[in-house]
Amino acid sequence: MTTIRIDSVSRWFGNVVAVNDVTMAIGPGVTGLLGPNGAGKSTLINMMAGFLSPSTGAVTLDGVRIWRNEQVYKQIGLVPEREAMYDFLTGREFVLANAELHGLGADAARKALATVEMEYAQNRRISTYSKGMRQRVKMASALVHEPDVLLLDEPFNGMDPRQRMHLMDLLRQMGAAGRTVLFSSHILEEVEQLAAHIEVIVAGRHAASGDFRKIRRLMTDRPHHYAVRSSDDRALASALIADPSTAGLELDRRDGILHIQAVDFARFTELLPRVARDHGIRLYEVSPSDESLESVFSYLVAA
């Protein structure tokens, strides 16, 4: 059982705070680190991987400090986000070099390449690889010593659906086998499909933590904003405000738009078309006005 603990960790670069007083524990199984781009996910992963020192706080692996301690890499496998590798090597040479640096040999390299299904291209230079192929060879290099902990920074970027499914299966297996797997992503669906446990990071802060149902609920329970155009905005507004699922209405008479704030998502989506039909009002346009991931996340932070 291997656990990475992040204890009251902050990290700043000059005046910019990238990670702000985060405390979390990543244990066995698959954990998804979810957050919009620039939220501090990579900063967190770099600290867990020993490539960045926390400005304050401690990052430990089973109680052992990770920063400036190369022995932790016996237990950690890292799949960085950056593309750069030793492009002048073939895939096989690259994975073999990684195995040798762990004191292992050709067998371990062969096994890792088989795991990611890259044997067919292993004798080609990495410089000729597609993004998905690179991603898989990076994966093989991280798996070569069968680490207890696997850290992956945006591993699904640039993968086609089949490769994505294959990698998800692989990570699921590793999680089921009791390994600690942490991957970052800015796509909720990706995290939802794979991670039993989700940690949400927004603007450097730890916004939420739990299983995907809890996170999903947090995200759907927030107030939703809609912009509606109809044949009679005023009548629609007066009918809607009577229902507890709406919290606020604003009539924009100049542009002919009705702004609605709904607090009960499920009830409101059912209410709106019913009310319109009952009152003989035609809906021309119903559009959510704040569905961007950033606005969803920023709600979580405020909550």
Partner: protein, 240 residues
Amino acid sequence: MLYHPTVARLTQRAILGRRRALILLLLPVLLIVIAIVVRVLVGADDEVTADLLGGFALATMVPLIGVIAGTGAIGPEIDDSSIVYLLAKPVPRPTIILTKLTVAVGVTAAFSALPTLVAGFILGGNGSRLAVAYALAAAVASVAYAAFFLMLGTISRHAVVFGLVYALVWEALLGSLVDGVKTLSIQQWALAVGEKIGQGGHVVSDVALPVATVLLVVVTAGATWFAAQRLRSLTLAGEE
């Protein structure tokens, strides 16, 4: 463990990658061509031999090759952050630096000391003694240059530029104008070692041998230690 064969293999292939190898070959080939031309046109002449081996081989070729091999042994990897794959391993950082240094010294010596020796023999006359003296000086300089430029490679993305400024502006230009600068010049320290062997007044250093030896050791060891420290706390800021 002071040497890791896998690190050595990766480093060697990185330094001797296609374009780099051509640049490394350029100056030695030029030196040998000039040596042949001089021998044919002038014949054996100690004065000319010393000028060519001291002025071109030791003063220009060795530091330039040192810059390419020394910074090339680690700079590009840090630049594109592929060094992550080396560092995310339970290999002591000093081992990585010492291995890279060994390769950089080997490459620098092979592409500078060896051609210096060959050129010296081609120039003939008393040249064989001069050849050995300058080749030895070049070999000694290779060690110090490689260590110094390797360290620069761990400090700055513009290590090549700083390396060239040191070699061309500090050593070559200021070193010929300002006496004090000569005391702080790898080239002069190496010449002090060569002077011991060369005799006959053609190999001359401005620094006494004991001082030169101490400075060579201090710079080589200090730069290597510092590079290992830099590697221990190498940070990746990520894309954010």
